[in-house]
Each structure stands twice: as C-alpha cells, then as structure tokens.
C-alpha cells in the first residue's frame, strides 16, 4: 500500500446516498484476477448507457471534473457487497479520498487497506461542499496527520481510528505487523487443541 499523508485535489460532487458497490463496479467486471485495471469500469452504468454511449449528464463525464481526486458523496457510501474491486476501481480511476456523512462498514475497511482515505463528516458540511463543487471548482486539502480537511476558508476536523491512520501514514504491510504476534497465535492454537 502506498503511504499517504496529505492530499490536495479537486472535489467531484456525487450527490447520491446509498451508493452501492454494484454501482461503483458492476459485476461483469469482477472477473479479472489482478488488482489493477478497474478504473475504466468505475460507475460504468452511470457513465455509459446500455449501448455504451457516454451519458453526458453524469458528473464524471463533465470535463470540469476530469482531474478530480476527491469524491464527495451522500450517506452510506459503499453499501452492498464486500468486493474490494470497489476501492480498486476508485483508486485506479484516480480517487484518493472519499468524503461522505457515513460509510458501509466493509467498504470503509477495504478503502483503508488500499490507501484511500475515507473521511466521515457531518452531512451539512458535505452538502455544503457538494453545492459549491457543483457550481465551481472546489479545491480541498486533506491532511491525515492533522486529521483536517481545508477549503479556502476554513479547516474542518475529522477522525480516523489511530491504528488505521498509522498504517495509512506509513503505508505499512499489515500482514507483516501481525506476524510479529506469531507466538501469540501459535499459543492460542495450542490452547485450543
């Protein structure tokens, strides 16, 4: 996992709640056996119609947002299946941060394991940024060390559990960390025999 401390980028407003993983990456694209190459299929059914034509009204098809790296969304982002293809697709497309009022549990974990910062913020704040980003370009800076999101006027705090923050900040390999506890795992197994 690539370490991430601070990220500055353009916000992309996706004003929908309950965005599920079937929308983020439809199942027909889950057949790859690699972690990469999913970005082209991100939000596929919203980006393209049934005949493969670009849907002009979808936000990712608006050239103003082509360089966007921070996704703003509604409540319960990432609900549905456990597919890690969802964060892989977001990352591969270029998103490093998702800001939403709430996340589905499994998605939240999956994002953290892939160097995407899931920023949980109160609904009013997210809506305010969504409205701004819909009107004109909105630049945000997400500082993971300080746990702050900055716009041009102010700083808004957020919270990521310390353990996950450490791993993200340092891009740590979690399995290697766990294997430091191998003696405890073995002892547990022996006691259970």
């Amino acid at each position: 996992m690539e370490a991430i401390q601070k990220h500055q980028g353009t916000a992309v407003p996706l004003n929908r709640s309950n965005v599920d993983t079937d929308q983020i990456i439809p199942k027909q694209f889950l057949k790859r056996i690699e972690r990469t190459g999913f970005g082209q299929f991100l939000f596929y059914n919203w980006r393209f119609d049934e005949d493969g034509n670009v849907r002009e009204d979808f936000v990712l098809n608006n050239s103003a947002y082509h360089d966007g790296t921070i996704l703003l969304a509604g409540e319960n982002f990432g609900c549905g299946s456990s597919r890690e293809h969802a964060p892989w697709a977001l990352l591969d497309y270029g998103f490093r941060v998702i800001i939403a009022p709430s996340f589905a549990d499994i998605f939240y974990n999956n994002a953290l394991k892939n160097g995407i910062i899931p920023v949980q913020m109160d609904e009013e704040q997210v809506q305010q940024w969504i409205k701004r980003a819909e009107k004109s370009e909105l630049e945000l800076t997400v500082d993971l060390q300080e746990q702050i999101v900055r716009d041009d006027e102010r700083e808004v705090p957020f919270d990521i559990p310390a353990y996950h923050r450490e791993n993200l900040l340092n891009g740590l390999d979690e399995i290697a960390l766990t294997l430091k506890h191998e003696a405890a795992i073995t002892a547990f197994e022996q006691a259970a025999e």
Binding site: S17, N18, D20, Q23, K27, S102, I106, K113, T178
Partner: protein, 469 residues
Amino acid sequence: MGKPETIVDKIWRNHMVHQEEGKPDLMYIDLHLIHEVTSPQAFEGLRLNNRSVRRPDLTYATMDHNVPTKNRDVIEDEISKKQMETLRKNCKDFGITLADMFHPDQGIVHVIGPQLGLTQPGKTIVCGDSHTSTHGAFGALAFGIGTSEVEHVLATQTLWQKRPKTLNVHVEGDLGTGVTAKDLILAIISKFGVRFGTGYVIEYTGEAIRNLSMEGRMTVCNMSIEAGARAGLISPDKTTVEFLRDKPNVPQGEAFEAKAAEWLALATDEGAEYDETVTINAEDIEPQVSWGTNPGMCVPVNSETPDISESENPDEVARALEYMGLEEKQPIQSIDIDHVFIGSCTNSRITDLRKAASIVEGHQVSDGVRAIVVPGSFGTKLQAEKEGLDTIFKEAGFEWRESGCSMCLAMNDDIVPPGGRCASTSNRNFEGRQGNGARTHLVSPEMAAAAAIEGHFVDVRKFAANIYS
C-alpha cells in the same frame, strides 16, 4: 456467576489472540470460506511475498458466482473460465480443499457451509462475501471481508477487529400463515432502514425467531448486511442442535452430545445487556414486495408504491420509481413481471424449494414469464429431485438448473435483459444487479411462485390450500 453476557461477548472472549490499548483486537478465525471472485488477488499477494496459508485445514473453497447453471461442460466466457482455473490452481498449490464445479459438495458458499456441518455455533467465520452473515443463524460470529483481509486470514488465520456494538432486534409474536422469514427480514429493513445496523452485530431474538426453522433463520441472518450490519446472529437452541446432528463435519455419537451442550451454553444469558434494542411485532407483518432499488424499499403486497411528495426523501423515491419503471401510488398487484428467479443464498435451500413447489403444483407459469429455479447446492438439487420437486417445477414450465449464484448477480449467463422485471428470491434489488437496466423485486419463494403463475404480484395467501408449513 459473573455478569450476564451476550453470545457476542462470549465468542469474542473465546477468540482473543492479542489485545492492546489503542488498537483493534487480534481475533482468531475458525473457518475461512473462499470462492473464485474475491480470492485470486489474495493468493497473488501471498505469492508476491513468499507467504503460505497458515491453516489450509480451516479453509474451504468452492465455485459458485461464475459457474454456468445450464451446461457445465462449456464455459463460454474466457475470463470466467480463467477465474475458475485460477481458484483450482490456488487450492492445489496451497493445499486447500475445493468443492469444484462437478464435486458433490459444490454449491453457494453460504448454503454448503451449514450443509456440510462446517458452520457451527461459537465459531468465527469469514468469507470474502458480504452474505457471510448467513452463518450467524447457527450462533456463529460470521462476517464478510474484503480481499486484503482474505489475504490476511490466509497468512495469519487472524484479523484485527474492533469490538462491534450489539443490537438486539426483538421480534414479538409469531408470523401468520403464508408470511415467511423473508417477509420478516424485509419488513425489518423497511421499518428501520438500510443503515440502522451499521457498526453493530445484530442478535435476533423473540418468539418468531425461536419458531423459525434453520433455513428461515439463515434467510434472516443472510440479509443483516442489507440493514448495514456486517454480522447477524441467533443464539443456538434445540433447533440448531438438531439441524447439525449427523452432519459430516460435526462430532458423532456421544461426542456430539458433549459438543451440543457447549453450543447451548453460548446462548445469550438472561439479563445480558445490548448497546441498542429495537422491537417489531411479527403479527403485523404481511407478505412483502420490494418496489425500489434498495432492500429497504418494500411494502406489503396489498398496498401500493409510495406517494413521492409524502416521502421522507422524495428525490430518492422518484429516482427509484423511475429506474423501476413504476408510477407513484401504483398498486403492487398491478405490476406485471416477465422473469422469476427462485434461488440465491437467501432462499435456495430445500425447504424454500418445497414451499415454492407446493404453490406451483398443479398450475402453469403464466404466458410470457420466464421462470427458473436454481438450487443452492448440488446436494439440495439431488434432495429435491429425490422428492420429485424438479418434476413439479418442470411440469409447470419452470427451468430446473444446476446450483450456483446465477441470476442473483448475473455474473454467468443468467441475466435479466434491460427493462426486464423479475420477481426474485435473492437479497439485492440494486440498479443493474440482475443485468444492466434490469428491475428486481425481492420476495419470498412462495410469493415468487405465485407471481410466476399469475404473471403479476399476488397475495400468496390466496393459495391458502397450497401453503406448506
């Protein structure tokens, strides 16, 4: 006597490998189930880092998501084929038991775990699949994980987990005739919403839950994730024990009785405290039909789609109705369907098939409806054939298939076409779930069977004489 504990407290305590201030707990995993879609990248990760599988004996694999349900000999989709071959190779290289496509134990991962007795009370069970919550029906702590976590469990047999909060969903009273476990869980989600379980493990309690068969309990726990909860469980009781008796992977004879006593002791203690409790009365619940694009968008079959301006979230309701091609305030029974799918890890077990068959018997699938039955496992299929259920379905005009996930997520060739409308016994009615542009209505197996016959939704209680109990 110590402080009364919930079953979650007990399972947590029994699996703690390491605890440290400011960190999640390191938990031991008793059973790791694997399928072809969410595992290849995990094995790739192991290889890249020169790691092995710590406990192949606690790992069990099957193929379910991609497998054809018509003709198993030809897999036309090259990428699907590659994914299945990759699983075969990974299992061989790492010494993991695999119920391959032609293996008698093959089936949907959440159907075969219980059937093989691998799923047991008190176990921690994970799988790279969000419906792992199904196994909670046995009083196991079972939840879905992502592929990075799959890799972590393969390498270490553990996971770092924050202790979840507990939510008691208490169901008073009993379900009426023709009202099923599926209607109960749909009614719970529509009452409390698709997010109410986020951050919690749900324990289902109360009379209606106690009276459910193990299959019914699996249906309920299966959809916990649709309420946002990673896990949902039910304290083990006599029903649990009797289901597991004589299953292949449980102790036999006297050893079984000893094990059963251990299982029963796991049940939540009288007076144990939950972080939250909600209550619903089973007697008020009617057969449900989903009208929208998430499982919380459900109403009783005798009612109508919502009034947009009266809804809490008018934009969301309007969008969902538009996708579904429905009007506001449209009577549910006026909705014509063209597809029926009886299957998935929610409702494809033997009792589900028996119940659907008893509605179908002596009737014909309505003109213009394509109806398929996909048993949850090869074992279920054989059992159903032994009972002659396949004949009932086929004579009525249903297609009778091989086991797999099939039209639940339409990753193989079983797809609802754009604009098609399906009465489905599965668990998700998301946009495009059963095919790009497809419209899904979630219902019980009995309701799906009745819709197949009538060509539109009807109250299954109209078939009162045929209702199987």
